[in-house]
């Protein structure tokens, strides 16, 4: 294992990492009593693979020049990313209880100025991929072999700026850029596939000139394979991994609930959800 992937060298399985991310997210969700817990539970497996398999970084040195850049375009997924960063040792676990509170370093929507290791300010959707294009150009200018990973949502596929960035990445042959799309088919007003994303996203990205993979975003083995492929690909295309995830994955009674963008969780249900996770702690 490369020296700057200390977490990948450990005996802790990705299954356990994903479990810990879900558990951290539930604890943070409970602090506010509501939040983007559906997205966090859904994307936990993807983040287990990015932060404990794919990315190179140093937990004690978030500004290290050799790190892979991880851009969270979807600011409201901060709860998920904080959960992964806490598990990775990038953020202290005891700050978890400050989530979304006054003076917290963990605001509801992720911002670079608040959180060490949070690379960009997300939240105005359709921004991350364009910034990632510039960062990928910058890394190439410097001869820095690091990669830029931009995590975005399926809803952001509706933003015109996303497609400007898609075309630009091809124009500049950004083979150091990996776009990760969390496709949970849920945006604020309803299913994404009933808005602007049609469900045929991979052929669309391919037609634009990207290397596109579509995977079950809750299948750790499939994700590992997809991220390995994206990294090792010997051609000059930018890469996209479209991850089909299930909102609230891992907590069956929430998975079965009528899924919305901002899911309702009753006060007593947080402990119930945690108990479900705690009943089966992976090794």
């Amino acid at each position: 294992m490369p020296p700057d992937k200390p977490t990948a060298a450990s005996n802790v399985s990705l299954t356990r990492r994903a479990w810990a991310i879900r558990r951290n997210a539930l604890l943070m969700g409970e602090v506010q009593g509501q939040g983007y817990i559906g997205q966090a539970l859904g994307v936990a497996d993807v983040l287990a693979v990015t932060h404990f398999h794919a990315l190179t970084y140093r937990p004690g040195d978030p500004e290290w020049e050799g790190r892979d850049r991880f851009y969270l375009s979807i600011g409201h997924y901060a709860i998920a990313l904080y959960s992964a960063m806490i598990e990775a040792g990038l953020l202290p676990e005891d700050e978890l209880e400050t989530y979304g509170m006054d003076d917290s370093r963990l605001p509801m929507s992720g911002m670079a100025a608040y959180t060490p290791g949070m690379e960009i300010t997300g939240g105005s959707l359709g921004h991350g991929l364009g910034i990632a294009v510039g960062a990928a150009l910058g890394l190439k200018r410097k001869g820095n072999p690091a990669f830029v990973y931009n995590m975005m949502s399926d809803g952001e596929l509706g933003e015109g700026s996303t497609w400007e960035a898609v075309m630009s990445a091809v124009q500049w042959q950004l083979d150091n850029l990996v776009c990760v799309v969390d496709f949970n088919n849920q945006q604020a007003d309803g299913p994404t596939t009933q808005a602007l994303a049609t469900g045929t996203e991979a052929p669309k990205w391919e037609a634009f000139g990207w290397h596109a993979q579509e995977v079950d975003g809750n299948d750790l083995d499939a994700l590992v394979q997809a991220f390995d492929t994206a990294r090792a690909l010997p051609d000059p295309r930018p890469r996209v991994i479209i991850c089909h995830t299930r909102m609230c994955k891992g907590v069956p009674f929430l998975e079965d609930r009528e899924i919305t963008h901002f899911i309702r969780v009753e006060p007593d249900e947080w402990a119930k959800a945690r108990a479900i996770l705690d009943a089966e702690v992976p090794t």
Partner: protein, 353 residues
Amino acid sequence: MTQELIPPHSRRGSKYAARTVPVSETGERLTTSAMIASLDAEGRATVAAPFGHALVDLAKFRDDIVGLTADLSKYTDLHVFAKAYPEKFYQMGMAEQVMISAAAGLAREGFTPFATTYAVFASRRAYDFICMAIAEENLPVKIVCALPGLTTGYGPSHQATEDLAIMRGMPNLTVIDPCDAIDIDQATRAIADHPGPVYMRLLRGAVPKVLDAYDYRFEIGKARLLRDGGDVLFVSSGFMTMRALDAAENLAQEGISCAVLHSPTIKPLDATTITAEAAKGGRLVVTAENHSITGGLGEAVAGALMRAGVHTPFRQIALPDEFLDAGALPTLHDQYGLSVAAVTASVKSWLAA
């Protein structure tokens, strides 16, 4: 019949009435002039592409400087830089949002990007990206935009009459409206050294040179008194400083003494100098800007004076709060009050009132 919508200051008649070829008093055809180049050049020395050449100079010693454009390098003088340093130049295509975002990404990686387009496209189309990808993180991206205010006869699609109002509203952003080739050259160098984001208006092509006749040096956040006078205090920015200087000459011949305070930095405004000059009293304060009367230099100055408790007679030379007509620039500048003759006449009428 549907009413035709014609704003109050328009020369437009009915679009259903046929027209004949317009000619000037000297019999020349009046054609639409798209560029500021030559607008103020009559009788003045000009400098070719001062922004492009200043950037080339800077890049000789600074590897961090890169240039980006959204298909408008030729019309923002960035082609000079692109030719000198093709490896430092990014043609981003007709895509302002990714140009601005990519500039932010390059700045994150330690570069100092100069991104160019027209002022309308930066301020209207790319606003959210300038705001969140650049200004909120205080990244050192320099957005340099041609066709500010009324410097094209193409009509509202290209006339950035409200760009200063838009950009002034953005925290962290420094906003510059330079006057001439001297100002542009010096401002380009100054903003390259400035650690934060900047929006700068640009005159391109053959740009008149005026400020070399004065003891002038550009400094971010500083207004400079170019000329003193006892009856009127012009506070001006952009090419309206040239107009104010010319109007001051005209008015001097009629016994009206005008001071001209050039304030190329719109934000942060040099409130100290402006209020100190205005507080001297006994003068009509006249702001002059190539911008809508709403939200630009004039209202910035008015706010500074009010906050400082300086109560002085005050008038604004500015464009009306309207979508402007298409046409030849000299016609439009007369029509909307920006020409030297119109400025001179306005001041005389205000003093006579």
